[in-house]
Each structure stands twice: as C-alpha cells, then as structure tokens.
Symmetry: C2
C-alpha cells in the first residue's frame, strides 16, 4: 500500500484545516477529544482528498489478506473453474478469495474505497466491460486491478490474463475441416467482444486456408449463453443449406445448439458435429461428451491472483497481458462428415 | 465474538505467569518493553489456553467482515448455486464471502484459530462429513459453524440447513408412477449420507404406496458424480429386465445416466425417463432438458449466511436445523411409459 502518499494526504489535510496531523489522526480514529466543528472540517477535507483508511493491520494469520474476484453475472460453470484456480492458489499463498457479483451502482470511487478499507489487496474482474471511469476509480484509491478475459480490449496500462482465442478458433475449425466438413458455421458471443473476435478470426483463417467459403448466415453473434445457442443453432439449422458442423464459441451455447439439433431430429455426431469452447465441467457431461477447446480457466485464475498480489506488493510483473494456451479436446460430438 | 471470555483468558494467563494483564497485552501486541523471558512464558501460556487474537477491528467499510464457506471438493454446479446465494445476500448485509476448499490437514484447532485471526466471523461447511474433533476445534476457538446439506447427520448442537429430501424423493417417484412407469430404479449417493437416505426412502414410500415392488438391483449407491451415474446407469440398464424410468439423486449423476442410455441406443424420454435432483444450471441445458427436483440452493446459501451472522452476533436462531422446500420441475426427460 502507498503508505507514504497516505502520510502526505494527512499532512495536506492538516495544513488545509489548520490543525495538527495528530488531530487529523484523532478524527480518523473516532476519538472524542476533538471539537465537533474541527471534526466536521477535517472529515470534509479527508473526503475531498479521497483519503482511504489503511486496511486492517496484516496479521500472521493465513487468509487475513483478501483479494476480491468480481463476476459480471451469475456464478456459472465458467466462473466455478476460475474460482477453483484462485482458491487453490490462494490457499497456497495464504490469501482469502472473496467472491462478488458486480452490481449497479457500478464501480465508483466510493465502492473502490470500500474495497480498500475492507482490506482487499487487489480486485480481479472477470469478463468485465471496463470504462475509463472504472479504471479512474480504482487508480484513485490505488487498488491494483487484474482483468480476466476482458470483453473489450483494455488499455495497455490494465493488467489482463486471457487465453489464445485465435489459436483455439483455428484449431477447432481445422479439426472439423480434417473430418471432411466444408459447411461449417460459427456461433459466437457478442460481436464486439475481443475474445469473440479472436475466435471468429481463427475460424475464418482456417476456412480461408482451405479455400472454403463461409456462406451467408453461417456466422452468428449473441451472448455466451445456452439460450443464444438454442436460438442461433435453430437459425443456422433452418437455413436452406444447413451446416454439417458448427463451431460454438462457448460450452453453454454449444449445449443450446445440441438441443436445437435434437429438436430437429438430428443426431450428434452422426448428422451434426459440434465443437465448443471453454472445457468447463459440463463439456464432459453432455450426451455425447462435447469436443471443445480447452481454456485453462483454473490456471488463468491462478495467474491472475499471483499477478494481482505482485502488483499489490509493488513488485514488477513480466507483461501487462498474458495469454495462456488453449487446447483442442476431442470427445464424442464430432465425427467425419456423412452427407 | 466472546469478548468476555477472551478477557478471562488474559486474566488467567496473567495470573499464571505472575504478571499484569497489561504485560500480557504488550506481548500480544509485539511491544518491545517486555523481558524476553517474560515474553516466552506468556506466549507459552497463551498457547496453552488457546488464546485467539481478536479479529481486525470492524470498520465502517462494507465487506470488512468476512464469512468463510468451505467446500469438500471441486467447485461444481452445485457449489456455484450456493456461492451465488451467499454472495448476493452478503452484498446486501455488507459481508464478504471467502470461498475455500477443505484440504488435508483437516479442520484442526490451529486452522480454526487461523480463521478467527483472519477475521472470519463464521464458517459455513458444505456437504461435509464432520467429526467430533472438527466440532471441538471450532468450539474451542468459538467460531460459529453452519453446515449445509451435511453428509452425516450432525449432532443437535450443530446448526444446519438442508432441504426436504424425503419429500423430494417422494415427488420425483410419484411423478414417474403417474406417467405409468412401474419399473423404476433409484441411483443415489453414498449409502450412509443422510440426504441420500432421505431421497431413497421418499422413493420407497412412493413405490410402496402404489404396491409397486422394487426389483433386486434397482437401487444403487455411489457418489453424487457424473462417473457414478454413468457406471450405475449402465448397471441397471444392463439388467435382464431393465427399468423404464430412473430417479437419480443428483443432476450430475443424471447426466451420466443419460450418457449410459445414449450409449445403448436408448432415447430419452421415449425409451427411458429420467428425473434428477438439485436443479443446478446444467439441468436446463441437457438435451433433452432434465426433469428434476429443485433444491433451493441459492436460498439455502442465503439462509446459512444469515444464520451464521446471527450466531456470530450472539443472537438467537429459530431452530438448529432448517429444511427448505424442494419442488419437482418437469422438463423434457420424462414421458409416459411406452413399453
């Protein structure tokens, strides 16, 4: 923590209020031997200077240090893997992992100040859309931030952890091409999300390398959710010339596509091959088990936590952005083309 | 927190060491104005008396209070729902939820002491098998405990939150009977787990009420895991007279049974009806979507957190054990018997 800048703030506040640093300290500690008028003047100046109380003194106890991991929506299979990686690493280094879900009102300066005052050493935001205001709020209270799999590409000064989405999209599509498929669709996430764009372009690169055209209507963008997979799967399967294989940008969406196929009497993999993305636990449990691109989500959680702690300790980090390798996991949802 | 008993400990240690309480306090706070010999005598006595340092002073900041939720194994879909409920409630009451995974070495006095010193207000253990030693360790450091869905029936003095497992097993089986099924199998969890026993007996009660015998080999007990569902599903489906419907004690196991059915060319629900238990997110995403008994896991997480905070604050609780209602959710994996 930037102790020296905190001291500077106290001195500045004391000077502005025309009192001693000791008096400012008394106000901070809720002591009663300060005149009400002085107290209110000092408190107002502390707020103006964005004074952040130091976190509770770090004890010897394992887990008294905490890091907060914040998700943008419900805790899903994807979140579970990241939590697993963080909690395992947190136990190794003696840091507690506090889970939260981002809510409106958003990441304001007040909220960021709360996090610091609550003893959080760093914030890890997962699949968040971050604005300049969010970054300014965190920077103002000097709370280190690491972003996992950001939906938009964060500015260079934001530390982030992702996976090799382009290579994953390429591998998924090459796998389908190698099975003889040519009519291959892509069902992705938000059109503007950088991870979606990287997966899409991996798919496009593989198709182009085989001189295989992407017919109109063969790429669709929704959200990385089951329901979107169900709807977008239905849309491509109802095309006059439907695909024989679909690369889906997320396991949950892939399950939606599987259900759209079942509803149309299509068997997987005999009539339709499907590749997912993520390799969350459900990928091993679908019927048939899902061929998918593994994102090392646990490792991403572990790396994000370690990086956040390095930032909190003022230690140097290797790179502001790290991508861990994706890997194609072949299971039962893909087979050679039969029609 | 039991402040008064902590004061008693300090006085006892001071008396045993032949020093003042102020001197004991100095040792605790690492002050240098204590003779090395005195310090080591006091420290040794503090250890003997299981003295636990008070948690960091509670600030105004939202989330500086933390509660730890501890899972017995990997963070799965079931855990995700409980975390979701706790985190949502935690945000409402300003308490941070620290997630951890139980590890060997187990819940010892030292580990319990660490939790208190790290500022945890309470521990919530999920699907844990708790021994008298675990309870003694927590009680010794006066850390409140709430258990969710305990695998063994905890003693009356342990506070626990569960769901109406017997009623759920009854409803699942009645649903299958009402569809005309008579050859109904049960694939459950650990034979000794109380939630498994309650679900099994709900199934038995429904079968008996319809004078429907349970043939040999029709009840199987493994773990609440996909792999067990796959193996036990295969075992009952390979019986000379296989069931036309299976009630499975957990969604993940139900997915294993679905895969065992698919591998045998059986269509769901045309050839085999399946009912799960839990209603985790995957139940809505299987193909076909899974008919299941909903456990209100988010609400169970919320109730456990609120109860833990009441215990931590020394407030009375309504009952040491609460069961929230289960509910049958009919989806696409069950249909009228056709053979």
């Amino acid at each position: 923590m930037p102790t020296s800048s905190r001291r500077a703030t106290l001195a500045t506040v004391a000077a502005s209020a025309g009192v001693s640093v000791a008096t400012v300290s008394k106000v901070l500690h809720g002591r009663s031997d300060v005149a009400p008028e002085t107290r209110s003047r000092v408190e107002s100046l502390l707020r103006q200077h964005d004074y952040v109380a130091p976190p509770p003194r770090r004890g010897e106890a394992v887990g008294s240090d905490t890091v907060e991991v914040q998700f943008d929506g419900d805790i899903c299979g994807y979140s579970a893997e990241i939590i697993q990686g963080m909690v395992t690493t947190g136990a190794e280094v003696g840091v507690g992992v506090v889970v939260s879900i981002r809510k409106d009102p958003d990441l304001t300066v007040a909220r960021a100040r709360d996090l610091v005052a609550a003893g959080r050493r760093a914030l890890i935001a997962v699949t968040s859309e971050l604005t300049a205001e969010h970054l300014a709020a965190l920077s103002r209270v000097r709370l280190p931030l690491v972003v996992i799999d950001p939906l938009n590409m964060p500015p260079a000064r934001v530390t982030s952890v992702g996976s090799t989405n382009f290579a994953g999209g390429l591998a998924a599509t090459q796998h389908l091409l190698s099975l003889g498929h040519r009519r291959i669709a892509y069902i992705g996430g938000p059109a503007t999300a950088s991870c979606n764009q990287a997966r899409l372009h991996g798919y496009r690169a593989a198709m182009e390398a085989e001189d295989t055209p992407v017919p109109p209507g063969y790429t669709r963008f929704g959200h990385f959710r089951y329901r979107d997979g169900l709807e977008d799967g239905a849309a491509v399967l109802d095309l006059p010339k439907p695909p024989t294989a679909i690369f889906v940008g997320c396991d949950e969406s892939a399950l939606g596509v599987m259900e759209a196929a079942r509803a149309r009497g299509l068997r997987i993999p005999e009539d339709l091959s499907i590749v997912g993305f993520d390799d969350t636990q459900i990928a091993r449990m679908t019927s048939p088990p899902l061929t998918t691109v593994r994102q090392p989500l646990r490792e991403m959680g572990a790396v994000a936590l370690r990086t956040a702690l390095r930032l909190a300790a003022g230690e140097p980090i290797d790179s502001p952005h790290v991508e861990l390798a994706t890997e194609l996991i072949v299971r039962g949802s893909t087979a050679s083309v039969t029609r």
